[in-house]
Structures are given as C-alpha cells and as structure tokens.
Amino acid sequence: MALLEVENLCIDYRTKNGYLRAVDGVSFSLDRGQSLGFVGESGCGKTTIGMGLMGLLPPNGFIREGRILFEGEDLVKLSPDEMRAVRWRKIAMIFQAAMNALNPVQRVGDQVAEAILVHNPGLSKEKAMEQVEELFELVGIETDRMRDYPHQYSGGMKQRAIIAMALACRPALIIADEPTTALDVIVQDQILAETRALQKEFNIGIIFISHDISIVADMCHDIGVMYAGQLVEYGSREEVFEDPVHPYTKALLSSFPTLTGQKADLVPIPGETPDLIEPQLGCRFCDRCREQIPSCKEKTPEWVAMGHRHKALCCRCEMGR
C-alpha cells in the first residue's frame, strides 16, 4: 500500500469575488522512502497542496472534493482533534522561510524538546533532551549549541534546527515547502545532502515543493508539474525532465538558466497566469502556449499516458496518441 494516496483533490478559497479553485483535481501517490516534487510558478497551488495535506489551510480555504489516503486512512474525514494527532507525529512540514519560525526568546534545544513533549505527554524532560541531542547530531549541529538562542545561529543552522524539529517525532512523511530558498548555494547543497541521507536512514516519504527546478530534479524520484491549480505533467524525474511532453513543462525548462548548454536558449514564457475564479474553458495554458491548436480552447484536456507512469494533460498529446 502506498504511504500517501491523493485522489482528485480540489481545494477552494472563499474570496470577495467568489470561490477560487487553487487546487483542481490533483491526484498522486507516494511510497515510503520515495520523494515527489512539485514545481510551478508562484500561485500555481503547490503550497496549497502542502497546507491541505497538513490540515493547515487558512480560514477561508477548504477541501471541496477528493480523498487524502494516508496509510489507508482518509485525512479529509478526520476531525480537527484527530488530525492533530496525525500532524507532526506522522506528517511533518518544513515551512517556507522556516528560519523565521523559531521563537527568538527560547533556547533552540528547548524548542525542539517541546515538539517532542507535546506529542509524547508521558515523557520526562530529561528523556526528551536526550532525544534532542540525538536529533542535533543527526542534522549536524554540535550538541553544545543546544542552549543557544536562535539569533546565535546562522541561517543554515536554523534551517537544520527546523529539520531536527520536523524529524522529532519520526514522521513517515515530510512536506518540505521551499526548504532552502533563503540559503546560500553551498549551505543548500549540504542541507539537501543531509536530507537525502536522513530520508534513506528512516525511510521517509518526502514531498518537495519548490519553484527551483534544479533542486527538485536533484532530489526527487517523481515530479509533478503544476500550472494554474492543475497538475499538467507527472512522471519520473527522467521522463519529465529529459523527455517533457507538455508545452508548459518545456517552456518552464527553457526559461531556466543552467551552467551548460547554449547561452542563447533562455526563452521566457509570454503572458500572465490565468484567473482562477472563473477559469477559462479548455486548456488553461493555451493562451501562452506555443504549440496550441484550435481545439485547445474548446475542449477540456484529458490525461494522456505517455509511458510507464508518465502522463500529461494536453490536447495535442491526445491527438498524437
């Protein structure tokens, strides 16, 4: 059984102008020890997916449809109290700009211990601190820094402390939302390497959310490309990045500067992302698409299987099949 199975997830936000569908019919699954990455531009719904899985949607957001099967249990049906028992214990999240998530007036070690104590009420403080020590060793912070305050840490160390906190209850699934965006490349590289090692050691499933294609390509077995609330292409890293079929994936890849290849082939995507309150009929990308055909505007695209797991939501691919 897959660790996580999401079926036809739809998440809406109530706004002044009506319901905004931030996530529209997204389905995917993830096994233990595997990682899945979501890429897309800002506003495509990737963070909303993470928040939806954690049950931490803002007050105006709610799950309209779909199922989130975690270890066989549907999280959508759980009450807030039941969800609290799952959250952090079984599913942990590393938030965007996580280094600002630490309490500035509490020692870092104590903060991590608190996360353990809240979820293991019977545990003594000393036992919890022992666990914190182990966690710090695990993520590569010297244990004599446990009694320091967050301002004495560098950005990379704070990020490691946050990862330690996410690991505190030995979760089966970690959702990492832009975990290294604010860090320098060298520190980022170290943290990603550590994350990879920890994933292997504890057999954790990880969902990476990032706008940085290169990180997702480096870290994830499977990739989901998102556009305007929909998953538009899904497949293994090799399938999606080496043989992309959806025009949006191709456009995204060619707008990304790399260290190799021809200098001249950086191509921006024209236009802006569409309105999600009244989404257009047909394909949502077609106004910006280089390869559009007349039927793109009229027909709602359907999933086309391209390979083993590789699939794309595109009318042109449908034709070519």
């Binding site: 060298i186 990603l192 294609i213 390509a217 990304f256 500067p257 260290l259 190799t260 950086l266 921006p268």
Partner: protein, 329 residues
C-alpha cells in the same frame, strides 16, 4: 588590471568598514569589514556580473558606486571623475549618470504613486524637460522596459501590477534619465523563472538599444553566465576571481568558485560538470582575522603555512582571467 581601453568605471582599492558602536554596557566594539581592497574595471557597453553569497559584500559594492554609502578607503572613478568626494551640485549631476534597480519590486515602488508619477519623478528631480515632454520620455522608457502599450500603464498603481511588471517599472524609472551606468541588484530573485528570463532579455536589449553599461549583482552563477560578458566572484569582501563568463564557469581556478559550482544542483549537468571537492568537510574553526585568505577556513586545498597569514592578490593567469590564490602562483 585589465588591459582594455578606457574603463567607464574604475574601482581602485576600495575598502568599506562598518564601525559598530558596541553595546551600552561594555561589549567590545567589533568592526565589520564589508569590502577589502576591491579593484575592478568595467568597460563601456559591457554587462559585468558580480557573483557572491549573501553577506559577501556584493550589494555594498553597488551602493558605493551609486553613492548611497561612503568608502572607507580607495577611489571610485566614473568617466575618470572621482566620485567618492562629490558634494552638492556635482553629486546631483553624477547621480543622473548612474542608476540602480533594486532587488524587491514590492518594496522599491511607492504604492501611492502611479506608474507615470514614479517613472517621471527622476525627471522632475533633475528638472529635465517640460511636463509635456516628460510624458513622452516616460512613454519611451516604459516601452524600452517591455511594458506595452505604455499608455495603459500610466495611471496604474503598483498594487495592480504583477511582480514582473513592477520590476519593469523599476527598470523604466532607472532608464528614463538615460544613464551611462546601471546597477541591477538581484533584480529577479523575487520572481519566477519564466519572468526572470523576460527581465534578463530586457536588460540585454537595453544594452543594445541604449548602450548602457551594467553591473549585474547576483548569487546565481547560471544567471550571470547568461547575462554577463565578464564575471567577478566575491567572497567575504574580497574579489576571488575575475574573467569572462565562460572562462570563470567552464574553467574556474579559485577553490571558492569551484566549491560554488560543486554546490549547484546538478540539473541537466550530470556528467558534464566535473566535481572539484575543494570544500572542507568541517570548517577550520578559526577566528576571522584580517590577515590571510578569507576562504582559508573552508578551503580543503589551502597551504597551512601560508594561506592564513598572507592575503593573496589578484594575479593574471592569461586572457583576462584573474585569480587571487597562492596555489596557482
């Protein structure tokens, strides 16, 4: 340093130290050395990339050139005129020639001003043209920055613009004075990749059409490679390597540049980019001193006897490629 004709901007041995006053009760004064002995020459019409991590001093270089901060020592020459001593009218005249594009377009635009107000403000400040002409100049600047048709944007306020559009307004504001030199400080770090590519292409086009020399400050080697003719890599206030973009990235010689390239995610570069492994597993925990190479505490190939005592100078390796490292001497 570079034997090319007539640099438009000449930074000579610039040093910048931020003095701290220390705490009220006795804490020691600790000065922060932001730049040490930085010398760079930028030629007319070139796009020059300054690459470094956060805290490396790259933004400080930009702020010194525009005159937002004063140098502690050294000279900065623009068109052979020393700008570090300028005051009053001369300073104002100089500011017409140099403009800056800031990192965050959500903060650098005044939310209470329309696009027309924002972009024409520099003209008003420098008393250029009459108001009718100004509108035309704003029109031209917006068009050059890729906002078309410009009339549609005149009376919009920043909250009705997307991030990419805001940054283009910021570019238009910098370009409206027809500056000789523009500094773009991480102009795309807040934007998505697809929008970044648009901004890059606008900057490239501006160089062609208006002949503006640019300094592009970034943390991304890949972006610098795409945009820049030459690149300088800066670490803890010291310039480590200077050379043409291709040279620095294809054949990095300084251990720090090599470590940077190692650290980049190997997306689409598997097997193409070789690993250098110049970074120490564990940092040598040394007190930061003013002597020695700033990269010494992290450098795996450092010479224990020499590198932490002497400060290496930039040496020419040939073909305009300069590296500050004893290992290569």
């Amino acid at each position: 340093m570079q034997d090319r004709p007539e640099p438009i901007l000449d930074i000579q041995n610039v040093e910048k130290i931020y003095r701290s006053k220390g705490a009220l009760f006795g804490a020691r004064r600790k000065d922060v050395v932001a730049l040490r002995n930085v010398s760079l020459k930028i030629c007319e019409g070139e796009i020059f990339g300054l690459v470094g991590e956060s805290g490396s001093g790259k933004t400080t270089v930009g702020r010194l050139i525009v005159g937002l901060e004063d140098v502690t020592a050294g000279n900065i020459l623009l068109d052979r005129e020393n700008i570090t001593q300028l005051k009053g009218r001369a300073l104002k005249a100089f500011r017409r020639k140099v403009q800056m594009i800031f990192q965050d377009p959500y903060q650098s635009l005044n939310p209470q001003r329309s696009v027309l107000d924002t972009v024409s403000e520099p003209l008003v400040i420098h008393r250029l043209g009459r108001s009718a002409d100004r509108k035309e100049q704003v029109h031209k600047a917006l068009k050059a920055a890729g906002l078309s048709p410009p009339e549609n944007f005149f009376y919009r306020y920043p909250h009705r613009l997307s991030g990419g559009q805001r940054q283009r307004v910021a570019i238009a504001r910098a370009m409206v004075l027809n500056p000789k030199f523009v500094i773009a400080d991480e102009p795309t770090s807040m934007l998505d990749a697809s929008i970044s590519a648009q901004i890059f292409n606008i900057l490239l086009k501006l160089r062609e059409s208006l002949d503006v020399t640019q300094m592009f400050i970034t943390h991304s080697l890949a972006a610098a490679r795409y945009l820049c003719d030459r690149i300088a890599v800066i670490y803890r206030g010291k310039v480590m390597e200077v050379g043409s973009g291709e040279m620095v990235i294809r054949n990095p010689r300084h251990p720090y540049t090599q470590a940077l390239i190692d650290a980049l995610p190997k997306f689409r570069t598997r097997g193409v980019v070789k690993r250098y492994d110049t970074l120490l597993e564990k940092d040598r925990r040394l007190e930061a001193t003013l002597t020695g190479c700033p990269f010494y505490p992290r450098c795996a190939v450092a010479d224990e006897r020499r590198c932490h005592r002497e400060d290496p100078e930039l040496k020419l390796l040939g073909d305009g490629h300069y590296v500050a490292c004893f290992r290569l001497a």
